[in-house]
Subunit: 144 residues, 2 copies
Amino acid sequence: MLSKKCKYAIHALVYLAERYQQGPVHIQEIADAQRIPKKFLEAILLELRNAKVLHSKKGKGGGYYLYKKPEDVNLIEIIRLMDGAIAMLPCVSLNYYEPCEECKDEKTCGIRDSFLGVRDETLRILSESTLAKIVKRERVLSKK
Amino acid sequence: MLSKKCKYAIHALVYLAERYQQGPVHIQEIADAQRIPKKFLEAILLELRNAKVLHSKKGKGGGYYLYKKPEDVNLIEIIRLMDGAIAMLPCVSLNYYEPCEECKDEKTCGIRDSFLGVRDETLRILSESTLAKIVKRERVLSKK
DNA sequence: AAATAGTATACTTATTCTATAGACTATAAG
DNA sequence: CTTATAGTCTATAGAATAAGTATACTATTT
């Protein structure tokens, strides 16, 4: 399961993607709209800013705004930033690889293969899921 | 990531699957072979026994043994028993469904779809991964 | 009867998650 | 140039969960 932090991040980013290129959005507005504790949201947006996904503008009329294009931010990137590894086992993780303590020999491990498959499919689906696609999908769904 | 408990369970079950229909295996033997703390393993095997995956025999010469056939136990079942939901969001979980607190309206949520896809693929791959297949795979791999 | 081995409950410890507090810094506007 | 606004940063507190341990009990086999 994704952490709350990660879910908050996704919702905040979708919110900002809906307002892409419409100027900075005040953090309090995002917190209110998405019902996210403001201080918690601050920490999240700060991380996203350090990862160059967002930019911020200080002072009156300031706030956060999407730096990358909505079609260039996908769910994989967000999840990795917030929750870390995507894989269900450390030994099949691309970015957070670690040998399994439990395994004697990775090469003859019959368990790995299944989880490699899961990781590949997860990666495929979630990297195709960009903020642009999510916003588009919401617009289509809400018009029905 | 899977919990240690879940990884231990998988390894213990694979160990028992390798010894299917060869009589009960003493818990200490499994603990030693897989380097699992014995007391922790007891709790795990007990749960698997209550779920009718394993049976046990008490007294001298007793131990645990696979009750279901190795081809009828898959990774999905084990993970569900040990860690709960497979899905990354509660609102796309089959067995542990809960509405998302974060969402206003599930029907117009653009995020859900992606995670539905991930869940389906994960389910497909892991339900095909039976203990029998894992054991077979290990035998093939170790002969190379 | 004695040894073996599984069953059950309770508890500890460590870690992570979620959330909050408060002081600080930069910017815009008057 | 002052004041209000709004983001930045560090620290920390409380709750929940995970991982492992201790102890007592019950059932079975020989």
